[in-house]
Symmetry: C2
Subunit: 356 residues, 2 copies
């Protein structure tokens, strides 16, 4: 295939009978060029739709004007909304975005970091995988001077900007809501005990129980890695949960994918929501409204999280001085009450009236 060879400043210079440097001056509003010559050049480049060769610029500046993103899965509405936010900010500021997926795998995450470095990204936005407990990869990025901003899932004690939601508050609200509806035996299903956000959610869950004088029962907390075999994992969890001596009457699930899979497993066992089991999900699914039983959810401002993360990262990239004080920006979550968590549910009411 004959490769597309774009016009260069040299071509322009030749056509107009000028030198390359004059053309460059016109393009960059550089001082020391006559208005006349400048107009000549600008008119011409407008006509031919000239774009400066980005590779040359990047080589010169030693930066790629691109940022890398690592998420666990893009086919997840929460993350794709965040990516939308990141891209809108990045494009506006002239940056490209490379999106990579860790699939909740530590190994893959490290491969992604290397890939991104070898593509000379100017900075990285990351939501760490549920498997990650070793943050040395991120520390070495810091050492190399490559800015990293964490969003959604951040390591506990790393010095970096972080964009997170108030997971404690979110989990508290979810749990409290279930309690107020009259469910006292609430199970909590979450990703992995090593993630800070999961810890915060568990703390919120515990705090709500404690407020209402309900004993915390460790048997009611389940962990799921959400890897490739998520279906098996959730099947096992649901089996275990349903066969507990003191079977829970409500579930608070901590993530998108988890919620979907748990609901599938429950449905398979003919557990009706919320009659047999109340349910609140920590999720951003657009489809929450049309599930068999519309889902009560704690939702997160995904778009804003993405925008904030991108702004912070680009700010750090473009800042002249080293950051001395890292920020942690915390967004609030929102409880949307639908039917899945109601004691006397509308769906029960409807199905009764339908059968008269």
């Amino acid at each position: 295939m004959k490769r597309f060879k774009p016009t260069t400043q040299r071509d322009i210079a030749n056509v107009l009978g000028l030198s390359v440097s004059t053309v460059s001056r016109a393009l960059n509003d550089f001082y020391g060029i006559s208005a006349e010559t400048k107009k000549l050049v600008l008119d011409y480049i407008n006509e031919i739709e000239y774009y400066p060769n980005p590779m040359a610029l990047k080589l010169r500046d030693c930066r790629s004007y691109s940022i890398g993103v690592i998420v666990s899965e893009i086919a997840n509405s929460y993350f794709s909304q965040i990516i939308n936010g990141i891209e809108s900010v990045a494009y506006k500021k002239g940056y490209n975005v490379f999106v990579t997926q860790s699939h909740e795998c530590f190994q893959q995450e490290n491969t992604n970091i290397k890939q991104l470095i070898s593509h000379s990204v100017d900075g990285i936005l990351v939501s760490i995988s549920s498997e990650t407990t070793d943050f040395s990869g991120f520390y070495s990025l810091k050492e190399k001077g490559i800015p990293v901003v964490f969003f959604d899932r951040a390591p506990r004690d790393i010095d970096a900007h972080k964009i997170i939601v108030d997971n404690f508050e979110g989990a508290y609200k979810a749990t409290e809501h279930l309690i107020k509806q009259g469910f006292y035996k609430i199970a909590h299903i979450t990703n992995s005990s090593d993630l800070l956000i999961e810890e915060e959610r568990i703390e919120g869950y515990k705090a709500a129980l404690s407020t209402y004088n309900i004993d915390y029962n460790p048997e009611y907390v389940f962990y799921c890695q959400c890897r490739k075999n998520i279906r098996e994992e959730t099947e096992a969890i649901v089996n275990q949960l349903l066969h507990l001596d003191n079977r829970p009457d409500g579930i608070f699930s901590a993530s998108d994918k988890l919620s979907t899979e748990i609901l599938i497993a429950l449905k398979k066992r003919n557990i009706t929501i919320p009659k047999d089991m109340a349910f609140v999900g920590f999720t951003n699914m657009a489809e929450a409204d049309i599930f068999e039983c519309p889902l009560t959810t704690i939702s997160q401002p995904a778009l804003e999280i993405g925008e904030a993360a991108a702004k912070l990262l680009i700010g750090q990239i473009e800042s002249k001085s080293t950051i001395s004080q890292y920020k942690t920006k915390i967004f609030e979550t929102e409880l949307t009450i639908r039917e899945s968590s109601l004691k006397c549910s509308k769906s029960e009411f409807v199905s009764e009236s339908l059968n008269q």
Copy 2:
């Protein structure tokens, strides 16, 4: 911020007391270097984890080793699955992927094309927006010699590789299934009459009706642009549909987002699926299983579509000669029968038994 300055071949050469070209030779298995020197260099670069500066390579080769993707929306499981396929192939072959979104808007699509060109992508993968009727943007890409491969939604008569599914067959199967279930008044809701895939789906729908001697009723076909105001559009369509003199008893919906929105609108009006209205969606939603009424769907092999498209594009990019014969690869769809299309539905049965 002090910029990260990676090691260069000059640095390596200085350390080892060699010249840049010798280092380069070692890295590229170039002929004319002693095994000894080569080992020396390779050992060292392994130790320090040297990566060649991608910008320099790209500038030199006049190519970016990146491909651009244009889809309508990434927060759509069908497209995010396709992107997964694209990325897996692209990364394996050393290419980056820039993903852009048209949001079903012609203007935005053209902006994206320009963006991608100005980032010097080596080729573009595109699923055209529902609004696009003017393909001049893509023709001018062809003229410039930038390879374009269309997937999912392709212009009718453009000379280019295309990856599509058998939309006719898919629509036929969906419609036939509804007919066999005893629904004869089948409405079809689709994106926009200008897309080839929509035309094929309508043809499949008509052909199935004709096979079973059902008259085609143009009033039963609805078009939705699926833009920002999709909620209003679908509300209007559902209102219109429900107030037809001869109200349909089944709906065959042509896309993901459309299906979700139509179901929300129907639910709002207390239309029960499939009792009051049968439903088949052309969609890849993972959640189809746990909807109020599990959704019968025509699904598409999204991952494979993405992989095939990326392979074809990269093949074209790397091919020395101009392509004389463009390929159109057609994938088959799959009908998954769930409850939303069944005449005597299980869900009715369940809700009766629950109320005894």
